[in-house]
Symmetry: C2
Subunit: 194 residues, 2 copies
Amino acid sequence: MPARKRIDRERVLGVSLALADANGFEAVTLASVAKALGIRIPSLYNHVAGLPGLRYEMALWGLRQLGDDLRRAAVGKAGDDAIISLAHAYRAFAHTHPGIYRATLRAASPDESELVAASQDVLDVVLAVMEPYGFSPDDQLHIIRALRSLLHGFVDLEIGGGFGMALDRDESFGQLVELFVQGLHARQVRAVDR
Amino acid sequence: MPARKRIDRERVLGVSLALADANGFEAVTLASVAKALGIRIPSLYNHVAGLPGLRYEMALWGLRQLGDDLRRAAVGKAGDDAIISLAHAYRAFAHTHPGIYRATLRAASPDESELVAASQDVLDVVLAVMEPYGFSPDDQLHIIRALRSLLHGFVDLEIGGGFGMALDRDESFGQLVELFVQGLHARQVRAVDR
DNA sequence: TTGACAAACTAATCAGATTAGTTTATAGTC
DNA sequence: GACTATAAACTAATCTGATTAGTTTGTCAA
């Protein structure tokens, strides 16, 4: 009877990514992916290493895409403008790809070199934007953690429906970014004083 | 044969909460809870409304506890001190109860009145602390969203192993809170100017 | 033409959630 | 002290999903 339906790893991943954004990260099961592809569940094991393997690939794809988006957003901008642009690109990615965004939150273990590299690539973009502010290397990292916390926290709560009040979320986000930038300047002044 | 092992809803919830913090939110299954209690899975349905019901109760317990902790932390303090104390209490809760913290992230639907009330109670504590800064009601809410994003983002990344660098996390958190407070002051000054 | 391989399949097992229906310990009543 | 209603346990059955083992079959290249 059947064999060959021209399915490869890319098709599997593509369908999984689409399902994640359409129905949520949790909705990406081997069952739902196989159904979308018109094949039986065990056939998927010819292309990906089970559900954990599929999730790994989703995380990798997402992190790479996020890195690209952030790089694109920061190009040709400097200082506060660059940070603001970065922030909006981060949020836009999470909005466009809510399910994939969740997938990227998987922590990379040191032996997962591709994922580590993709994470480093994202970090590099932010480091480049933070460079001109002249903080010490450690402070730079502390500040990047703060920015990442702020962005992740906001979009995670937003996606999860955690903001109950009927209050414009775009406005909230704008003020949040502004607040970060102002806090950054305050710290910068203080650092120069020393 | 058997009946009566003196198990009630509180015992079920208690075991579930303990499992969540010990092994993670995902590890709280009806199977693991039943095993810990020494009963069969279906017996749990005498006490909780399945897994969704159990998760609801965990979220409710967690939100109430968080509200209590925050209130305790803010008592007798004002202004920046109160905010800093609140921030550290928030993080401490997430550290002490990582699994329960995850459970609290469940968005409350309007008909889940107990959960809505518990969420409101948490919000009230933060509103009270923010009150003296003199922002407009809307701005107050925007700023609270920023604070919540910052805190949630940090602890979520922290718990999830998202901070890869070997850099002191306590120090990062301290700087993050400081940055927020300074951003707050910058916004306050600006608001007064108008 | 044919044979090796990739990629599909079926079958079987396991874990977990849920529902239906059954049994029994115990608390409260007569 | 016996009796009965009920709460709280149970077994059995079903369902979904993941995984592994082993089988079959197109297709490409020699």
